[in-house]
């Protein structure tokens, strides 16, 4: 029985210890987890961070976190990193991942959050022990959280490969709190990097140039920094255009420098040098550097948020004209010296010497150099070699030009002097680097025999000397006729005539046609004008012979006069109503009564079988007087709106 108990206890012990033993961390694995706070409010997000680093090629994977009910979880946001150490203590490379979950508690209480787990080498490893968080009711006030992160190391930002994961501990390290540290405690570089306000939250890129004014060819050092106070991943980096500059990279391993802590507004930021380039302006003017941009992803930053650096403007001028030496080429800026080696110093006529020119100094070393042109000396094919160096932030280097020089004429031949005028922006003056090539003793007679088996310069020179004009045409033996016609141009008068006359003619013709049509239309209107008709009717009245004709003509004259004066077509109005109607239209009562009287008389005479001739004359006379009075009355009052009458010509008695 005791044995049975012992066996049972052994089995139970094995069952309990087995999984724990199985979950033991493999050799070299470094797995840990942390909670961003131990006290949070309802609705306030907090994070659980897992860090798993292992030696070897296998990468930790499948990070998991189980949370108790009452807490919502999102994530994880996973990033990778590589950590290497080289030193006397040994060399090792660790690969790992970081996983961050964001948690939000829905109700107050004390919660125990189990430690997150991760698969390492086929085994699931638990990262430490469970964590406890105390959730209090929401107050709505911003809370300060103490730093509890155990991870004090910076981001491995700037890893080669383009993608720069940034998984760990920045939130904990900087804590997203306004800095309480006075700025005076910052180092000199940190103070230089400090900014009064943050241009963009959490992470941004900033470009800083060491100078904003330069001359063409002078070095301008441009540095790109990334400022951050939150975890992020940087991808899809976009380089600035720098189209107006020659660009020389000054960083051996971008992103490998230690970050600097500085102050941006009220926040403490980490700053890491992203890239540094030396720029040499190619032309004068206000030149833009362009922006360096990238996409940033992070729990606080957001998903693939674009950030671009500021676009700097460099005011580039030409070096001063005053004191500029002849032969100076724009862009040759810096401080250089030239050395030369000439060998051999004694050759046969039409032989060659090797001239090795070495140009060395600080600045963008010129890629070509002028050699002295002298009769009987031919410079062949320089072979160029060069190297760019960076010393104390200044670009420099050397360039060699290996020439083969053919000397044709015998004698003591002076090769000349090689000069390179440059502008030194530090001293603000021009300088001329020069080297005297000295003399070469050229023996007369035939070309010196070539050593057996030697190849090189002479063969090449022979190839070069192949007649480049072999295919040129023969001389012209006679003056053949040719057409002298070239481009005589066109006189401006002729040109403007050809260009302006056709459209002007059309426009003029169109205008004239339109004017003619308007004139015709106006004439037609005037023919139908009551005043005109009244004037004609007066003529008819004068020509009328009989009393009836005179009465009819007088009636028509009166009607047309009334229409011209008032716009009223009086023929359609009863004689009994006419007086009132005329008064309504502004005629005075005596005049309207006279109108009615004359029209009544006309009507009487027209319907009388044998009217008296004297009555006709009387009507004619009264009608003329009436028309004159109506005309006067019309002139004295504003024209009627219905039909503006023209003046009744010839209405005067």
């Amino acid at each position: 029985m005791r044995l049975a108990w012992l066996l049972l206890c052994s089995v139970l012990l094995a069952l309990c210890a087995g999984p724990r033993l199985a979950r033991a961390q493999p050799s070299g694995a470094d797995v840990s987890a942390s909670l961003s706070t131990d006290e949070a409010e309802v609705g306030e997000p907090f994070t659980v961070e897992l860090r798993a680093m292992v030696e070897g090629d296998s990468l930790p994977s499948d990070a998991q976190l189980y949370v108790p009910s009452g807490i919502d979880v999102s994530g994880p946001s996973v990033s990778t990193r590589v950590m290497s150490r080289f030193g006397s203590g040994g060399t090792y490379v660790k690969r790992g991942i970081g996983a961050t979950w964001q948690l939000v508690a829905q109700r107050p209480g004390s919660y125990v959050i189990p430690a997150p787990t991760v698969m390492v080498g086929g085994e699931r490893i638990t990262a430490g022990r469970s964590m406890r968080v105390h959730v209090v009711p929401a107050t709505g006030r911003p809370r300060s959280r103490p730093s509890t992160s155990p991870f004090g190391f910076p981001s491995p930002f700037g890893m080669p490969g383009g993608s720069s994961p940034f998984p760990f501990g920045i939130d904990s390290m900087l804590d997203n709190e306004p800095a309480d540290e006075p700025r005076t405690t910052m180092g000199e570089e940190a103070q230089k990097l400090a900014m009064p306000i943050e241009p963009e939250p959490y992470v941004f890129v900033r470009a800083i140039a060491d100078k904003t004014e330069a001359v063409v060819g002078e070095q301008v050092t441009l540095s790109f920094y990334v400022y951050y106070r939150a975890d992020f991943e940087m991808t899809d980096r976009r380089e600035p255009s720098l189209s107006d500059f020659i660009r020389v990279s000054m960083m051996q391993s971008p992103g490998a420098d230690a970050p600097i802590t500085t102050q941006v507004g009220n926040w403490r930021y980490l700053v890491r040098l992203l890239d540094r380039v030396a720029l040499f302006p190619l032309r004068a003017g206000k030149l833009h550097t362009g922006s360096l941009g990238a996409l940033f992803t992070g729990a606080r930053v957001g998903h693939r948020v674009e950030r671009s650096s500021n676009d700097l403007v460099v005011d580039v001028r030409e070096p001063p004209r005053k004191g500029r030496p002849p032969g100076y080429r724009l862009g040759d800026v810096g401080s250089y010296r030239i050395s030369a080696e000439v060998a051999p110093r004694e050759i046969a006529a039409d032989g060659t010497v090797a001239v090795q020119l070495r140009l060395q100094g600080i600045g963008n070393v010129p890629q070509s150099i002028d050699v002295p042109e002298r009769a009987g000396i031919e410079w062949i094919d320089p072979e160029r070699k060069g190297e760019t160096t960076i010393t104390a932030g200044r670009v420099g280097g050397w360039q060699t030009f290996g020439y083969v020089v053919r000397v044709r004429d015998p004698g003591n031949v002076y090769l000349g002097e090689v000069v390179l005028p440059t502008y030194d922006p530090d001293r603000k003056e021009y300088a001329v680097a020069r080297v005297d090539l000295g003399n070469v003793q050229v023996r007369g007679g035939t070309v010196a025999p070539r050593p057996a088996g030697s190849v090189g310069a002479d063969d090449d020179a022979k190839k070069e000397r192949a007649d480049p004009f072999a295919s040129i045409g023969p001389a012209k033996l006679s003056l053949r006729p040719f057409d002298r016609a070239g481009d005589p141009g066109m006189a401006p008068r002729t040109f403007w005539s050809l260009v302006l006359v056709p459209p002007m003619l059309v426009l003029l013709g169109g205008g004239l046609g339109r004017g003619w049509r308007a004139l015709r239309r106006r004439q037609a209107l005037r023919r139908q004008d009551p005043a005109t008709l009244a004037s004609r009717a007066l003529g008819d009245l004068s020509r009328a012979k009989g009393a009836k004709d005179q009465a009819s003509a007088a009636e028509r004259v009166v009607h047309l006069s009334i229409e011209a004066a008032t716009g009223l077509k009086a023929r359609g109005v009863l004689l009994t109503d006419l007086g009132q109607e005329l008064e309504n239209r502004g005629l005075e009562r005596p005049l309207s009564e006279e109108v009615c009287a004359v029209l009544g008389l006309c009507s009487d005479v027209r319907f009388e079988p044998s009217p008296d001739r004297a009555a006709g004359e009387q009507i004619s006379g009264r009608a003329r007087q009436l028309v004159a009075r109506i005309s006067k009355a019309r002139a004295a009052r504003p024209a009627p709106t219905a039909a503006p009458p023209a003046s009744v010509r010839g209405a005067q008695p």
Binding site: E373, R408, L479, P502
Partner: protein
């Protein structure tokens, strides 16, 4: 090369050579003067005779000079050939065959290893001149290409990168056609504009539509062509083609201070403009500056 400056100013054509000074004219005029004055005239005549004497070619007809120059070229007397053919041009005569032979003379001198600095530029200038006078001269075109290739090769030997000067956009546009072409094009579009305006006023609907389309199109083309004509005219009247005849020349400002940058290489075709003293304003591609007058060869202005 004779004493001819690298300038235009050839007053007459080959058919009308510049009148030469008559030796008999001096005694006749002097016969009416006082004895002292007569002596002065005599001395002046001697001086003029001495001045004219070295230029044996001056007293000869252009055709004769051409014949002599061509014969000398065939006999390998390149210096003599160049002298004769330069004298041909000095007399104001212009002929593409003479220009071609002159360029050939410079090239042959180079081939004979007797070339002088600037010979390539002068050869290129002569061939350019031949092409200006006879644009379809294939021999001159080929010879010019060979000369330019040789200049590039020599520059390459000196470690200089090949620099291609590109004209500014306005010059490029203006240079697409001649002034007359731009003018005629503008006149055609002016006519089309007039036609369009007429069509717009017709009562027929299709014609009206045609007029409404044609008139703005023609107007836009006209507005574009007029500046091109004016630009081409300005370029023709204010500038003159020229060729660099020294190994290289640096552009300078009016005071002669170098503007910096790459030099204009030999045989490069430039536009020469205003002259001030011994300087002439040139434009090479998009760059402009002043160069000494003797460093370029002004080509025949058509």
């Amino acid at each position: 090369m004779s004493g001819r400056a690298a300038m235009s100013g050839r007053a007459s054509s080959s058919e009308h050579p510049r009148p030469r000074a008559s030796a008999r004219a001096w005694p006749d005029r002097a016969g009416h003067a006082q004895p002292r004055l007569r002596l002065a005239w005599l001395l002046l005549g001697v001086a003029l005779g001495a001045w004219l004497a070295p230029s044996r070619a001056w007293a000869q007809a252009p055709q004769e000079l051409f014949r002599q120059g061509t014969n000398a070229l065939g006999e390998g007397k390149y210096d003599e050939a160049i002298d004769d053919l330069e004298a041909f041009a000095d007399q104001g005569a212009q002929h593409p065959d003479a220009s071609y032979n002159r360029g050939l003379g410079y090239v042959q001198r180079i081939r004979a290893n007797a070339g002088r600095p600037g010979d390539l530029g002068r050869a290129a200038a002569s061939f350019e001149e031949a092409l200006l006078l006879r644009p379809d001269d294939r021999d001159a075109e080929h010879a010019l290409e060979l000369v330019q290739a040789e200049v590039a090769r020599r520059d390459s030997r000196r470690g200089k990168d090949m620099v291609t000067e590109r004209p500014t956009l306005d010059r490029l546009l203006v240079g697409l056609a001649s002034e007359r072409t731009w003018a005629i094009s503008a006149a055609v579009f002016a006519l089309l504009l007039a036609v369009g305006l007429v069509l717009r006023s017709l009562k027929s609907r299709p014609w009206q539509i045609a007029g409404r389309v044609l008139s703005p199109v023609a107007l836009a083309a006209l507005l574009g062509l007029v500046p091109l004509y004016l630009g081409a005219r300005s370029v023709r009247l204010t500038s003159q083609p020229a060729v660099v005849i020294v190994p290289e020349v640096f552009l300078a400002d009016e005071s002669g201070a170098s503007l910096g940058g790459e030099p204009v290489p030999e045989a490069a075709k430039v536009e020469a403009g205003e002259k001030r003293g011994r300087l002439v304003h040139v434009r090479s591609g998009s760059r402009a500056g002043w160069v000494p007058l003797g460093t370029i060869y002004l080509l025949h202005q058509r």
